[in-house]
Symmetry: C2
Subunit: 168 residues, 2 copies
Amino acid sequence: MSATRTNSRNETRIVVDPQLPTIEIIREFEAPPERVFRAYTEPDLVAQWLGPRRLPMRIDEYDARTGGSYRYVHRDEDGTEYGFHGVFHEVRPHDRIVQTFTFDGVPDGVSLETAVFEDLGGRTRVTTKSVLDSFEARDGMVASGMETGVVAGYERLDELLDAGTTES
Amino acid sequence: MSATRTNSRNETRIVVDPQLPTIEIIREFEAPPERVFRAYTEPDLVAQWLGPRRLPMRIDEYDARTGGSYRYVHRDEDGTEYGFHGVFHEVRPHDRIVQTFTFDGVPDGVSLETAVFEDLGGRTRVTTKSVLDSFEARDGMVASGMETGVVAGYERLDELLDAGTTES
């Protein structure tokens, strides 16, 4: 598969471990880690792909550095807002992002998410692992429709990378 | 048991779940949540109890607010330093602290720790749950001698609370 291929659509694999309260999401992208990492860390790029297309995203804060915080809101057609927030435990350029994640609607719920960027030679595999504190919480996150949002967001990220808007 | 009893030594319970990669630590203290919470969040107080007595603690940063970061170092008799760092996902006064935790010696290892402060009527039960991403990581943390440090630290916290130095 050529790294210059446009409109590529790689498969999103979501693995729910029967033994651990985790969700693992594996996805490859047709761009090198530097560009994919930029799309994950620069707020104006994040706003262009994270979440489904029909939900406009407002970023209140997105300080993707070790020790930084983030907060963003997805707005539904009927005006309902879905807010998410957390802190960046570690942001290691082009390599690894570790952050906490809370949906405002479940303020006591929190997961720890680690995204690892693997260089496949001009292409990138991103593996994101979410750890929750119970199987109930994990299964609730899966049942929330997370998969639809993740798959749709990654397709938008494909387009962003195809369009070359993440070139430095 | 009277809330004014001095030199009380409550039991520290450490629960290792066979089904989840978690460690739960339960401990009661002879002081109300406000005072115990202060001892958990004010750096000059934290330095007086966190960890075993024989290891002097140097705090580089301890910003115990939602979005804040921390880093501290325990120094062994032979000068070896053990550093720990993380971010505060949420600090809810007198109620709840959620933070990430990494030992510098295992830079890719990270746990998510939630401490809940329960009011027992002038006394406090603190339940701290650590979630790791595998049973190996959890068992490694238990095997590291964590228990000794936790129990010894809580005894120092008893003394700090007895001495009344956490009164506001």
